[in-house]
């Protein structure tokens, strides 16, 4: 019996330890974001509480001078357009691959399959030239096109769902005179709702957090998304940890809210996305 108690205690200790490791760095940043400049400068220690816990001055600075408002606007625009586009493109591809037999079908499938193995980071050297020659460099269309065009995982997710929709539904509609586009729009697309939710969550979080692509393709100050705008805090605020911390908290907070609100869907979404 005692052995069991010891084992149980160790399990809980390891869980509490992990919780501390995860939450401590985040918590300290939250504390720092509420401190004044003098408090951080005079090294009162990272773990001390801020003297005025409702001091939101640093958030105002981060929002106003750090351009976080523009950044949230740009991120929202890119997110909505590219996630919407991914849903349309993924579902159309899945519908075409699963419901039609046509020449070169296997070749098309293979093209998508192989593309899934190519990590995007490796090809940017040459992708850059193409984006540039299309006149999309330093516009919001560069990341939008790249997010929509290189997402294979969402095609997999849609494919699984399209397969599970009985073909008799298509046939019934066709007998009623519906053509392929009507079937896609009126029957397949509405039934894909769970897959759409998954893709929106997985893709939405990826786009919100992406740094590499906006960093490479949108160097202009006013085209900053949250990642790149926050990254620019590094220069002017390098000694002002209270402002940098406020910026970091501003970026993390929406993620936390979305996570708490949609926990169940997020877990399912990522499991589906990874095991494809």
């Amino acid at each position: 019996m005692t052995r069991r108690v010891v084992a149980r205690t160790l399990v809980y200790l390891s869980l509490i330890g992990a919780t501390l490791v995860v939450l401590l760095p985040l918590g300290v940043v939250l504390l720092t974001s509420l401190k004044t400049e003098t408090e951080t400068a005079h090294g009162s220690g990272a773990l001390t509480l801020p003297r005025h816990p409702f001091n939101f001055h640093n958030y105002a600075t981060a929002f106003r001078d750090g351009g976080m408002l523009t950044a949230f606007g740009n991120t929202a625009f890119i997110l909505v357009v590219s996630v919407g586009g991914t849903v349309l493109i993924g579902s159309m591809t899945a519908y075409a691959i699963d419901r039609f037999t046509f020449r070169f079908r296997k070749l098309v499938v293979a093209l998508f399959l192989i593309a899934a193995l190519v990590p995007g980071v490796t090809t940017q050297v040459a992708t850059f030239q193409i984006v540039h020659s299309l006149g999309m460099f330093d516009t919001r269309w560069a990341p939008i096109a790249l997010y929509m065009g290189t997402d294979i995982v969402s095609i997999y997710i849609f494919l699984q769902f399209v397969r599970s929709i009985p073909i008799s539904l298509d046939e019934a509609a066709r007998l009623d005179g519906a053509n392929a586009f009507t079937i896609y729009r009126k029957i397949i697309f509405p039934l894909l709702k769970p897959a759409i939710a998954t893709v929106v969550i997985v893709k939405g979080i990826a786009v919100y957090n992406d740094f590499y692509i906006p960093f490479l393709y949108m160097p202009s100050q006013d085209l900053g998304v949250i990642s790149t705008s926050l990254f620019r805090f590094k220069g002017p605020y390098s000694a002002h940890w209270e402002t940098i911390s406020a910026g970091a908290v501003l970026v993390i907070l929406p993620t936390l809210i979305v996570f708490l609100a949609l926990q169940k869907y997020i877990y399912n979404g990522f499991m589906r996305g990874a095991t494809r």
């Binding site: 084992a7 390891s14 869980l15 992990a18 939450l23 401590l24 760095p25 940043v29 773990l47 493109i89 591809t93 519908y95 691959i97 699963d98 039609f100 037999t101 046509f102 296997k106 098309v108 093209l111 190519v118 980071v121 490796t122 090809t123 050297v125 040459a126 850059f128 030239q129 193409i130 299309l134 096109a145 790249l146 929509m148 065009g149 290189t150 392929a180 896609y184 919100y208 957090n209 740094f211 590499y212 490479l216 949250i226 926050l230 990254f231 590094k234 940890w241 911390s245 910026g247 970091a248 993390i252 993620t255 936390l256 996570f259 926990q263 877990y267 990522f270 499991m271 990874a274 095991t275």
Partner: protein, 338 residues
């Protein structure tokens, strides 16, 4: 796919017979049945020409946008990249010269270019720790534990957090007098060691941050796989007197094998293409430059597009090789798109 096929052909046949019947009725009425019926048999009755063309075209209409994007942003870059890698192009000037395999030779002979591979070693080691820890937490949280959902959420949350924010959180964490020093101070260990100041310590710290960031994702995938193992198996094992270790060894481990191999391969390619955390935190200084940081610098700071392309081709080949080896070792029957 076979069943879909039979469905459509069965339906076509049905439609054909309906069409034939109406036509036969019409023919009987006009009194020219015999010749009509004969010509019906010669041409497939279900598809008049324009309708047939439309049916052949329809899937391509759906695939037009996806394929255009796929070719423009995945295959064209790969083809260009391979071509650039044999030239001395600087990325801007209209002139470029064919240099053969020179770029590749430079990549493997110049000490400073090759050392990025050693940096990947830190991230590889970190992913081993990460996978083992993720497995441990997934196993214990698959049994009944108090505050299970809380612990699950806490472990998973970092993988949703923005990479730049994580970079800053940990810059403050490792800063002189920052979170880490303060915590060590609580345990009576006072130090003024600059954690990001020497190559080994900096790389270990950065690899640690990457464990913090990615552990949650592995954990949730493992947990999902463990929970999809039918519960009766555990009950049966418990009746047979199997302890936790035996349950892990004989029930959990086989159940999560597919996810585990997927995770291993993703970790390998992730270690080789580590970019965000080191770039944001150190910019590749003090010996923390990774393969991707180096490639980005070669291409966009030093305008060595040719050399950078060669580096990217090498990375791509390594990752494809790893994937291929994994597919050979563990044949995955679930990748059956066709």
């Amino acid at each position: 796919m076979a069943h879909a096929h039979s469905h459509t052909s069965a339906m076509d046949a049905g439609k054909a017979s309906v069409a034939a019947r109406t036509r036969a009725q019409a023919a009987a009425r006009t009194g020219a049945g015999a010749s009509n019926r004969a010509s019906n048999r010669a041409v497939p009755p279900s598809a008049p020409r324009p309708a047939r063309a439309r049916r052949l075209l329809t899937p391509w209409l759906f695939l037009l946008a996806p394929l255009t994007l796929l070719v423009t942003f995945t295959y064209a870059p790969i083809a260009n990249m391979v071509a650039y890698s044999f030239t001395d192009w600087d990325g801007v000037s209209p002139e470029l010269h064919y240099t053969g395999a020179e770029n590749y030779a430079e990549l493997f002979t110049r000490e400073d270019l090759f050392q990025v591979f050693w940096v990947s070693g830190y991230y590889l080691a970190a992913s081993v720790i990460q996978i083992v820890a993720a497995l441990y937490f997934a196993t214990i949280l698959s049994f009944s534990v108090r505050f299970r959902n809380f612990f699950k959420g806490v472990l998973f949350f970092p993988s949703l957090v923005n990479g730049v924010a994580i970079g800053f959180v940990f810059l403050y964490f490792f800063q002189d007098g920052g979170t880490f020093d303060t915590v060590l101070g609580l345990f009576g260990h006072h130090t003024d060691h600059a954690w990001l100041g020497t190559p080994v310590s900096a790389n270990v710290s950065l690899a640690g941050v990457s464990i913090w960031r990615y552990l949650g994702m592995n954990f949730v995938l493992f947990l999902g796989a463990i929970q999809s193992v039918p519960g009766e198996l555990y009950e049966a094992a418990e009746l047979d007197g199997a302890g936790r270790w035996h349950q892990f060894r004989y029930i959990i481990a086989p159940g999560i094998r597919p996810v585990l191999t997927l995770t291993v391969i993703l970790s390998v390619s992730g270690s080789l293409s580590a970019f965000e955390i080191p770039y944001i935190m150190t910019g590749g200084a003090t010996g923390t430059e990774t393969f991707v940081i180096q490639t980005v610098k070669l291409a966009f700071q030093f305008n060595k597009t040719g050399l950078a392309s060669a580096a990217a081709v090498v990375l791509l080949l390594i990752i494809l090789l790893v994937t291929w080896v994994q597919r050979r070792l563990v044949p995955d029957d679930r990748v059956d798109l066709v």
